[in-house]
């Protein structure tokens, strides 16, 4: 237990900033207001140590903190005022809860004497945020500030990470206390990392050693547990083909020989169909989301299921497991790797490659290398961007067709390279998350793919770019539609395009108003040059590509369908 001793008597706000510094915070995202002014005032004295990024909306502060946390392995921090400032964070908190992102969101609150009286800008922040956070705590006494911050960071980043809210009454911010900081390493009510059970691991190893057609599903748990290397050793020794969930995507290189692609509704054909042909399914740090499983009644019924997870609440939640292996993936994977035989499953792996051929012919070829002219496809843009960055950039995206296309076709060569809103599917996530990601990984290129719909949900963050000069490459895939909803209308609602066509502004002009360079591309021939211009430009850049208005994302497992019911075109099944 580390202790930082200081006898000075300080204000609660000063104690808060010192606590944050003690937790290693050097960047945070926020927006001031009455009930948090003392903290912003204290921050003024620490500008050299803690960089505050002034966003344009508190939702963006949280999304930025998410982007920051996702790429940097650190806790994202947001600072907001009471009432509307706090309620504006709900979407981001919920998103972070769904996607297990470590955050500490600090909100101001009315003075403790006013609590419960419907005071100006009072909101029941704890009551509102409890269901969407890992922990939410209200501080009413100044002496509790260091203690609460210490717990907040411990809870946010240990075990299965998640968002924490600390709501601080205004009087606690101004009253004085002695500053003394102790890092939390234990809470009796909280057991973040279950101890691995050797018997279960032996049982799992035996099943894996006997397996003829084993298949591994890689989730974000691997990334959160920093178990990428252990995973690689496990997979390479056992020769087991694997696929990733959306959030697990960059844990392993895109072109690793055992990588069979992405799972889920718009995942690759092989991994989806072969889920129902494997004899052993090994889920690692993933939670069997319904976008991955489709209809549970026909999901992997033939297979023995081994589930590695840190969260006991995920075991048997959606899919009944044969063997559960609780613990941190880093530990459990290295333990099991010792017990498994070196092996290869090349014939089985070929069963995936056969589907890859079908997918290439039916879907990928037209999407990435369209031959007969016509409107620009989203896929070719993504493909050209990833190539132009040497597959080294961070890919952030918003929600919709462009999210699926960019996640499918962007290539990853290092972990923590995809920032996407998976569980909640929050439109408006992309731009602020990209800004946060750039602060989290300043040396990397950050490319954010957005739709014309989603960009307008948080387009105010052009203001943050203007203010800070942060460098993000914004690729707007403009199809003039709420494309993903339009796709469902085309497939399942008889092409009745109710409220999905958009009358859009001149995005380049909007960006220009914020001093953001931009270029619009309508012709395929211009694309390479425009991408180079974007990447060479110093500072943020908006590349608007006018893409096919009625493009479709395939393959597709329709909602509630079985993982074997993969569509590759309208009315066309594999």
């Amino acid at each position: 237990m580390k202790e930082e001793q200081s006898n000075s008597i300080v204000s609660g706000s000063e104690a808060l900033i010192r606590s944050l510094v003690a937790e290693g915070v050097d960047t945070m995202f926020g927006y001031p207001g009455g009930a948090i002014m003392p903290v912003f005032d204290a921050l003024y004295d620490h500008r050299d140590k803690v960089k505050h990024v002034l966003v344009r909306h508190e939702q963006a502060a949280v999304h930025a903190a998410q982007g920051y946390a996702r790429v940097s392995q650190k806790v994202g921090v947001a600072l907001v005022t009471s009432g509307p400032g706090a309620t504006n964070t709900i979407t981001g908190l919920t998103d972070a809860m769904m996607d297990s992102t470590p955050l500490v969101v600090i909100s101001g609150q009315v003075a403790s004497s006013l609590l419960g009286s419907d005071a100006f800008q009072e909101a029941d922040v704890i009551g509102i945020t409890q269901p969407v956070t890992k922990w939410a705590y209200q501080v009413r006494r100044v002496e509790d500030i260091p203690w609460a911050i210490s717990r907040a960071f411990y809870i946010a980043r240990s075990g299965r990470p998640g968002p924490v809210v600390i709501d601080i009454a205004k009087d606690a911010q101004v009253n004085k206390c002695e500053f003394k900081y102790e890092k939390t390493t234990f809470l009796r009510s909280y057991y973040p990392v279950p101890h691995p059970d050797k018997e279960k691991i032996a049982e799992a190893a035996k099943i894996i050693n006997e397996a003829k057609r084993p298949f591994a599903l890689v989730g974000q748990g691997v990334v959160l547990g920093k178990a990428e290397t252990e995973l690689k050793l496990f997979l390479e020794k056992s020769g087991i083909p694997f696929a990733s969930t959306l959030l697990g995507l960059s844990a392993m290189n895109s072109d690793h020989p055992l990588n069979t692609g992405m799972l889920g509704m718009h995942g690759n054909i092989g991994p989806n169909i072969n889920t129902n042909s494997c004899d052993v399914l090994i889920a690692i740090g993933m939670r069997f989301d319904d976008r991955v499983t489709g209809n549970l009644n026909s999901y992997a019924k033939q297979a023995k299921i081994i589930h590695f997870d840190i969260d006991p609440g995920e075991i048997d939640k959606n899919v009944k497991t044969t063997v559960k292996v609780l613990g941190n993936a880093k530990t459990t994977l290295s333990m099991i790797t010792e017990l498994i035989n070196s092996n290869n499953h090349n014939d089985w792996l070929n069963k995936f490659r056969e589907y890859d051929k079908i997918e290439y012919d039916k879907v990928i070829k037209q999407e990435l290398f369209p031959e007969n002219g016509g409107q620009i496809k989203m896929g070719e843009v993504v493909h050209k961007v990833t190539e132009a960055t040497g597959n080294k950039a961070i890919c952030v995206n918003d929600v919709g067709q462009h999210q699926m296309i960019s996640s499918r076709y962007f290539k990853f060569t290092q972990s923590r390279s995809l920032v996407t809103s998976g569980g909640l599917g929050t439109m408006g996530f992309g731009l602020p998350a990209a800004i946060g990601a750039k602060y989290g990984a300043p040396d990397r290129t950050v490319c954010v793919f957005v739709g014309d719909g989603g960009l307008q949900m948080t387009m105010h963050e052009f203001g943050t770019i203007l203010e800070t000069g942060v460098d993000v490459k914004i690729i707007l895939l403009n199809n003039n539609y709420l494309g993903m909803v339009r796709q469902w209308q085309e497939l399942f609602f008889e092409e009745r395009y109710s409220e999905t066509h958009l009358k859009n502004p001149d995005f380049i002009k909007v960006a220009d108003a914020y001093n953001i360079a931009g270029r619009i591309v309508t012709e395929r021939a211009e694309l390479d040059d425009a991408i180079q211009e974007m990447l060479n430009h110093k500072g943020s850049f908006l590349l608007e590509v006018v893409v096919e208005t009625k493009g479709m994302v395939y393959p597709m497992v329709p909602a509630g369908g079985s993982v074997t019911d993969v569509m590759v075109g309208k009315g066309e099944k594999v």
């Binding site: 704890i126 809870i155 009796r188 048997d316």
Partner: protein
């Protein structure tokens, strides 16, 4: 409701503000009704005990909600049982008009039959207490309502103790203390 089973969920928590809110949202999300609820300090200082009953389709539902409750940071331990595993009890209070009781006459029969304790007698009212299972306290209520009339009636949530020798919370806490220190992950 007939093919659902009644589960008793026992929860130990830190004595923190808002724990009940955290628990109830887990029921709300699954659209489960809380049938009864009882909260009080436990034998261990600073730890509160919740006893909640709820009807669920099957055991897997009970298991899932218990895991989701257990996962909350302020919760020390949560588990579920069916009636067979438990010794359980509820309390009920009945307020009757003294005049009506006098008119009725044969109160001794009721007091013996239901093992009633008389808590209070005034010129106006008499208060009965009955401890028992739901059927028993309800049975008395119905009989009193029919024969005498009940002015006020209240029933407590269930309290319960397991029959088997289960792990005691203090043991669980000691074990966690030994294993649980977690170097911060990130």
């Amino acid at each position: 409701m007939s093919n659902k089973t009644l589960y008793t969920i026992t929860i130990f928590s830190e004595n923190a503000v808002g724990v009940l809110n955290q628990i109830t949202t887990i029921f709300t999300r699954r659209q489960l009704n809380i049938e009864t609820l009882s909260v009080s300090p436990s034998a261990l200082e600073g730890i509160h005990k919740f006893t909640i009953t709820t009807f669920a389709e099957d055991e897997s539902v009970a298991k899932k909600i218990v895991r989701q409750i257990d996962k909350r940071v302020d919760i020390l331990k949560a588990f579920y049982n069916t009636d067979d595993d438990l010794v359980y009890q509820e309390l009920a209070l009945y307020k009757l008009s003294t005049e009506k009781v006098m008119e009725h006459g044969s109160v001794e029969y009721l007091i013996r039959k239901y093992n009633i304790r008389v808590l209070e007698v005034t010129e106006d009212n008499i208060v009965f207490l009955k401890a028992g299972h739901y059927e028993e306290t309800q049975g008395l209520f119905e009989e009193l309502a029919e024969k005498i009339g009940v002015l006020q009636f209240v029933r407590s949530g269930r309290i319960a103790i397991t029959k088997s020798k289960i792990e005691r919370l203090s043991d669980i806490l000691a074990e966690r203390e030994a294993l649980g220190h977690c170097e911060q992950q990130l």
